[in-house]
Point group: C2
Chain length 123, copies 2
């Protein structure tokens, strides 16, 4: 009787934070905002997003809030206008989230002895 596979493969670390970061990027309009901010040399006015995106103003504000709460962008008020810019570590944090998933780091911290695995056919 053999196991179907290596006994304890499944990683069980909590990836809620990384999943939340990816969820923040899981909307094309938020990607457009991030892409705009990443390409902009200066801060970008909210009014540019309300004018440039096919969304109403409250929806734009909603997406900006989600990005801000995720720590990916930062805001600054200048008089009547509010300007947004990419957070300095935005890209690094997204890259780190990706690396956590695809790099085989931290080997012994997440395994669990899965002693009731299936058996393998003769094949």
């Amino acid at each position: 009787m053999q196991r179907c596979c290596a006994p304890a493969a499944v990683r069980r670390r909590d990836r809620e934070g990384e999943a939340g970061l990816f969820r923040t990027l899981a909307d094309p309009h938020r990607l457009a905002i991030l892409e705009t901010l990443a390409a902009a040399e200066e801060h970008v006015c909210v009014c540019d997003f309300t004018a440039g995106l096919p969304l109403n103003q409250p929806t734009v504000s909603h997406h900006l809030r989600l990005l801000r709460e995720a720590g990916l962008i930062e805001s600054e008020r200048r008089g009547t206008w509010v300007y947004y810019r990419l957070a300095p570590d935005a890209r690094a944090r997204m890259q780190a989230a990706l690396d956590v998933v695809f790099d085989d780091l931290a080997v012994d911290e997440t395994h669990e002895a899965n002693t009731e695995c299936c058996t393998v056919p003769s094949r």
Copy 2:
């Protein structure tokens, strides 16, 4: 009368595909599956996921289907068991999606003349 900012900042390219990829990673259990497959040397049996994740079997199957439909993982049946592995280009595709957002490439393809920008205060 001055503009509040550079006239045509907002990117308007369709990022539905990239957003869909990020949405696929926007769940901690799917991240655990990907992380497991990335760390595994061999293919991983579905039974390992149903045993190792705090989810019922139909839910595990659902997540595997989403990952498979996104092209991030591949399946292979061996007799009764089904084995999954990371798609060869999975990481590269996620990296490309990230780069599209944060790299300032393809400068002239996405701008739109936003001629009705706000004005800037004297400051």
